[in-house]
């Protein structure tokens, strides 16, 4: 029962995000009316879940409700609507997110028992089990024989990030080149718009976390479009894990912008169906992203750099 309530809440949060997506696509402004019928059609659901999604957006002060009139947009794109949409995601799976974040920050070890997690988070056994199920769905944890759970490798060290880039260099260009690559132009347009928004910000105002979010969305989108189901599956799982656990990506402003420009160029090539060019651009993009800082440097002594380097 609790599980189904939880799942239903998660579905409504996902729908609320979809609603914001429609609002952004249609370029709606604060004060604009959100007709239930139009949104239920746009999202392909009945009016009841749309109402529940509107309610969540009202709780987050993204929409206001007027007696007899319905729901109205309270904040627009200029007021940070995109950011608000991302914050909605944080509401999802909050215990799962806390566990994941604590593991990525090395607060908890890679093998965990249910009872240790119950103690740490002061929640019921069922809640912990539910959170672990959510995490296992994303391939982040696996159940060991007995009562323990093991975390899979994460993006918690520079070496792990380097290995991830090596993996992506192998798969991502192939995901583009595989026959059957089909791009959702509308979604690509929305991504391009958000990248341009970031590029338009003042120098030094792009945060690494904001960039990582958009970066994983871009690369997941490329994976989704791939015609090779195995490349698609592997990359989507990989980018989910990146998004959930990658840290320590403080990148200078110049490289963040260069990276966004590279994303835009790849999307442009894909729009023109220049797949080979797009795959080459992806290689260049990932190689540039693979720069590793020395781990230790000192006067007169060669910098130490572990791990693979190209």
């Amino acid at each position: 029962m609790a599980d189904s309530r939880r799942n239903s809440r998660q579905n409504h949060i996902a729908l609320a995000q979809q609603v914001i997506g429609v609002v952004l696509e249609r370029g709606m402004s604060p004060g604009d009316h959100l007709p239930e019928q139009a949104f239920s059609e746009a999202c392909g659901v009945s009016r009841t879940p749309i109402r529940a999604a509107f309610k969540i957006l009202e709780e987050k002060e993204i929409l206001t409700w007027k007696e007899e009139e319905g729901y109205f947009l309270e904040i627009g794109q200029a007021d940070g609507l995109t950011e608000e949409a991302h914050r909605l995601e944080d509401m999802e799976d909050s215990l799962a997110q806390r566990i994941l974040s604590d593991r990525a920050d090395r607060r908890i070890g890679d093998i965990q028992s249910i009872s240790a997690l119950v103690r740490r988070y002061n929640v019921t056994r069922n809640s912990v089990l539910n959170a672990l199920k959510i995490l296992s769905r994303d391939g982040v944890v696996t159940q060991l024989p007995g009562r323990s759970w093991a975390f899979q490798p994460m993006f918690d060290t520079p070496k792990a990030v380097d290995e991830s880039l090596a993996f992506r260099l192998t798969i991502e260009p192939q995901a583009i080149l595989a026959p059957g690559f089909i791009m959702d132009i509308k979604k690509a347009g929305l991504l391009k718009m958000r990248m341009q928004e970031l590029l338009d910000t003042q120098e030094g105002h792009i945060t690494s976390t904001g960039f990582l979010r958009l970066d994983t969305e871009f690369h997941s989108f490329i994976a989704e479009c791939s015609g090779n189901r195995f490349a698609r599956g592997a990359l989507l799982a990989h980018h989910r894990l990146r998004r959930a656990t990658q840290k320590d990506i403080s990148i200078p402003d110049f490289r963040l912008r260069q990276s966004l420009d590279e994303h835009l160029e790849i999307l442009d090539s894909l729009e023109r169906h220049q797949f080979e060019l797009a795959a080459d651009q992806m290689v260049l993009h990932l190689r540039r992203s693979r720069i590793r800082r020395p781990e230790a440097a000192n006067r007169g002594i060669p910098p130490l750099m572990r791990g693979a380097r190209q």
């Binding site: 604590d102 320590d248 440097a297 060669p302 750099m305």
Partner: protein, 428 residues
């Protein structure tokens, strides 16, 4: 219309110098010049990420790279205990072998530097190092010295000796240190002078490995911590900067499970991060304090487990942005770190382990801009007491705010770029 000036920046292979040069290069670029970097192997891409062209000194072969890793392991094993010694006791154990290594670097890099300068043909060279590469003087291009270490690197009777951590008034200790320094560096110095001679350069006096530029010398030392010199440096050739803080991407502090209290940042530089045992013990103490801690652990994240709920570990932070948001900066006394703390009006808790960290620790204490804590004798109680005292020191906070305002009114990176451009104009 005149061609844009090409300025070749050549920082030593340390993050302090490298990022200090990035700050100056950003301003030079704003002024229409084309800054490029001569880049040590291992720093590939560090400057490109800031949008600057890199010219690479020859990389070591693969066996050499493996040797480097072995070298570092040996370095850690050998020198970690030396970091617990006094500045004077470090002279024979740490400083002397380091100078030998620096001389080796200069000899090894000579051919590469010469060839790259031929390729770049710069309008000026900015050298941020502790040693001269003869190819720079021989090239005939105007060169400018950047002193990104503490002010003590340029000697004066009123300034305590470089790397000593002494106060100027410690007369007896000063004399002893100076003599010990000369003895400890004699062998490396002799070798270096022979190398200079072979390259047609005049020898340098004992203990000196880098001459001042006849054209322009830039010193980071902000006025708040500057010494009153017995022999003031000629203003036309020596420009003091108010630090040299670069522009960095904005840092958003992550949400922590225990997310209350002031933000405290700790970084001992990439070399200091090798002492995972010390940092681990400090983190245990941080867990008992009502504050949030961002800790730079360099490449050694894997050495830490069970990180407390009020602590966040990272292997790299955009430091100027983190310092700006911090209530306290715990560092090793690296000159860039100290200047960044002053620039943002943040008190320093300096725990030095080598080189000019000793000098800045002494200076922070003497100028009321921070405190020094000994890395060997600290206890959880003294660390806690030092942190809380600095957080609650209202007069120090007011002093630092004043210093910060003064420094930000004349940012060092911009001042440096203006001085460089003016010096080049004179030469043309």
């Amino acid at each position: 219309m005149s061609q844009p000036r090409v300025i070749a920046l050549f920082p030593e292979a340390s993050f302090g110098a490298a990022l200090n040069c990035v700050g100056i290069a950003q301003k030079l670029r704003d002024m229409g010049a084309i800054p490029v970097f001569l880049c040590h192997p291992g720093f590939t891409g560090v400057f490109a990420e800031y949008g600057f062209k890199e010219y690479h000194l020859p990389a070591p072969s693969q066996p050499q790279a493996q040797k480097n890793e072995d070298y570092w392991q040996a370095f850690i094993n050998t020198h970690l205990p030396h970091f617990n010694l006094s500045a004077e006791a470090q002279l024979p154990t740490y400083v002397a072998p380091t100078w030998e290594a620096i001389v080796d670097t200069a000899i090894d890099a000579e051919a590469g530097v010469e060839s790259l300068l031929d390729q770049i043909r710069p309008d000026a060279i900015l050298l941020d190092n502790v040693i001269m590469f003869p190819a720079i003087v021989r090239s005939g291009y105007p060169w400018i010295r950047i002193v990104s270490c503490a002010e003590t690197e340029i000697p004066d009777p009123n300034v305590p000796p470089y790397l000593s951590g002494l106060a100027p008034e410690d007369d007896a200790a000063v004399t002893r240190f100076e003599q010990t320094y000369l003895n400890a560096t004699a062998s490396a110095h002799q070798r270096y002078n022979a190398f200079r001679k072979s390259r047609g350069l005049r020898p340098l006096p004992a203990g000196t490995f880098l001459e001042n530029s006849d054209r322009l010398n830039l010193l980071l030392a902000p006025s708040a911590v500057r010494y009153s010199r017995a022999r003031p440096l000629p203003r036309e050739r020596f420009v003091f900067l108010e630090g040299c803080v670069r522009e960095e991407s904005r840092f958003d502090p992550p949400q922590l499970p225990a997310d209350d209290g002031p933000l405290i940042y700790m970084s001992f530089g990439s070399l200091g991060a090798i002492d995972t045992d010390l940092i681990g013990k400090m983190i245990d103490t941080f867990a008992t304090l009502p504050a949030r801690f961002m800790v730079n652990v360099g490449g050694f994240l894997e050495a830490y487990q069970h990180v407390p709920d009020n602590v966040y570990l990272g292997s790299w932070f955009p430091q100027p942005s983190v310092v700006e948001q911090s209530a306290l900066f715990i560092h090793h006394g690296g000159n860039n770190s100290f200047c960044e703390a002053l620039f943002h009006g943040v008190p320093s808790l300096v725990i030095p382990y080598c080189w000019d960290g000793h000098d800045n620790a002494q200076r922070a204490q003497a100028t009321g801009t921070g405190r020094r804590l000994d890395r060997t004798t600290w206890s959880p109680d003294t660390l806690r007491e030092a942190i809380l005292a600095l957080l609650n020191d209202t007069p120090m906070a007011a002093r630092l705010q004043r210093i910060s305002r003064e420094m930000q009114a004349e940012p060092g990176a911009r001042r440096a770029a203006e001085a460089v451009m003016a010096a080049i104009d004179v030469s043309h």
